[in-house]
């Protein structure tokens, strides 16, 4: 199974297996990353599933929508590596994608 590598807020790394077609947010939630609140459940409206993509992994992702950008810009922890994990739909090509859970707003 393909995997993503998630760094939690305490610095601990989690290797999480995923099914193709799941979102990164779903994979992280099912994989026990409880600090990822994902309050809106993945409808691109709350920015509580904010992650920072490892610079080396950025090229694996397609560009973000205006809605995603709008929500992320409202976060105190927004930077050039910010993404909403609910907006990243995983395929086998995302194997070994590395992300860090953003600090809480």
């Amino acid at each position: 199974m393909p995997e993503v590598i998630v760094t939690k807020r305490d610095g601990e790394h989690s290797i999480i297996e995923f099914m193709e077609g799941a979102t990164l947010m779903q994979a992280m939630s099912d994989g026990g990353v409880d600090e990822l609140l994902a309050i809106c459940g993945g409808v691109c409206s709350c920015a509580t599933c904010h992650v920072h993509i490892d610079p080396a992994s950025v090229s694996m992702l397609s560009p973000m929508s205006e809605d995603e950008q709008f929500l992320l810009e409202g976060s105190e922890h927004f930077n050039e590596y910010s993404r909403l994990s609910c907006q990243i739909r995983l395929t086998n090509e995302h194997h070994n994608l590395r992300v860090t859970v953003a600090e809480e707003d």
Partner: protein, 424 residues
């Protein structure tokens, strides 16, 4: 109240629980955050952390009974430590309509991916013009009259028309939909009202089938066209019936719970001293106000899950086949999570973490719409009035109020709310 002398009222049928579910939740909470009910073979989860634990654990808990509720016996006798095959074999008996809220696993993820793009900030922005103009018209007429009945006269038509506009339902069909929705019993009906003719879902489904079929043949630029042309992440095209069920469900679900939110919020405005003046002076506080209303009086009291395999909730052993009442409204007043949980407090820290819309993969997808549309119309009401008060002829005087709630073990919603409006 705890221990051996505890006599449990029936959550599903007792009308005293309907009138004040919060008192009942505290009786249950005193028995522990995960409690084996005396009246039904079900666990009542009233703890905030424990509810989240259930809602986020898709592996061990199925949503198959989320509409039929935990009071109904299962259509099979659970056998062994894993009943996933039995659930699949009997799924249709537990949810005859096959609604997305009862789906599990991969099918749920696929169908949910269709809904996930419908209530984004840009979509709501496009819909906002309609919300503003339609609500302004409704409020103006009510204020001119000096009074209104908030649930049926204002909230229901308003939210129906907003979701109709968002989905692109032709205006000539909108009133027909409202009529069947208005005459149907609420979800989780305590009185098991029998109605004649097709259910609102069936009735509206026929229309949606026509819209979607026409758009598959001749695509346009509206939301229904987008739905008709949607492809799953694996590239396959959803079955038209699946899209019909989904659109119909959004229309029906978008209706009732949002309408209840507006009336519950209005009650808070009229009953909390000074609140309406605070909100009039700074309408920017309305979203915070609504979050606190959602915590204290969210439109959904409970949802339901079925244990797929032997598991645990908050350390308590749960056998496969156990039905679970996830007490969302109880969790929202859990004193371990919320300081002074029964108090109304504007700008509570981390208020958005309440469970009024659930949590996890089944979180209410329409939450952003509900909050946006209710905020818009409330702002109009506050702007166009100098004072809003409950009508004393209909609801009695403060301290001696009579309020009628829809007889539902799922929905917390006023059957009607008569208010007097003093123009600004």
């Amino acid at each position: 109240m705890s221990g051996r002398n505890f006599v449990e009222r029936d959550y599903f049928t007792d009308l005293s629980v309907l009138l004040n579910p919060y008192e009942y939740f505290e009786e249950i909470r005193a028995q522990g955050p995960v409690y084996q009910m005396q009246t039904h073979d079900a666990l009542f989860v009233s703890g905030y952390d424990e509810c989240i634990e259930v809602l986020r654990n898709n592996r061990d808990f199925s949503s198959a009974i989320s509409t039929s509720g935990a009071a109904q016996p299962l259509p099979f006798e659970p056998e062994g430590e894993d009943i996933s095959e039995q659930i699949e074999a009997h799924r249709a008996e537990m949810d005859p309509y096959g609604l997305v809220v009862t789906y599990d696993g991969e099918l749920h993820s696929k169908v949910r991916s269709i809904v996930n793009r419908l209530f984004t900030p840009s979509r709501l922005k496009a819909n906002k013009e309609f919300m503003l103009s339609y609500s302004e018209m409704l409020v103006k007429a009510a204020v001119a009259k000096g009074r209104c009945e908030m649930v049926n006269e204002i909230a229901t038509p308003y939210v129906t028309m907003v979701i109709a506009d968002l989905l692109g339902v032709p205006s000539e069909d909108r009133d027909k939909f409202r009529e069947v929705i208005d005459s149907a019993p609420p979800p989780g009906d305590m009185e098991s009202t029998q109605t004649e003719g097709p259910s609102p879902l069936e009735y509206m489904g026929m229309f949606f089938f026509g819209y979607l079929q026409a758009r598959r043949e001749n695509p346009g630029v509206d939301v229904l066209s987008e739905l008709a042309e949607f492809t799953y992440p694996d590239g396959s095209l959803p079955d038209l019936i699946e899209l019909v069920k989904l659109s119909t469900f959004m229309f029906g679900a978008g209706q009732d719970t949002s309408a209840k939110l507006l009336s519950n919020a209005t009650r808070f405005i009229t009953e909390t001293p000074g609140l309406q003046d605070t909100l009039r002076a700074d309408p920017g506080l309305i979203p915070d106000f609504l979050e606190e209303v959602l915590r204290l009086e969210g439109s959904t009291k409970a949802t339901f899950r079925l244990a797929v395999r032997d598991t645990k909730i908050g350390g308590v052993s749960v056998p496969a086949g156990k039905r679970i009442v996830v007490g969302l409204a109880a969790a929202n007043r859990d004193p371990r999570r919320w300081e002074h949980p029964n108090e109304f407090q504007l700008k509570r820290p981390r208020i958005r973490e309440h469970l009024a819309f659930g949590r996890g993969s089944h979180t209410c997808a329409g939450a952003p719409l509900a909050k946006a549309e209710v905020a818009v119309i409330l702002e109009h009401f506050l702007k166009q009035t100098a004072h809003i008060a409950l009508n004393e002829d209909k609801h009695g005087t403060p301290g001696n109020r009579t309020l009628n709630y829809e007889p539902s073990y799922i929905i917390r919603g006023l059957a009607n709310l008569h208010v007097d409006l003093v123009p600004a």
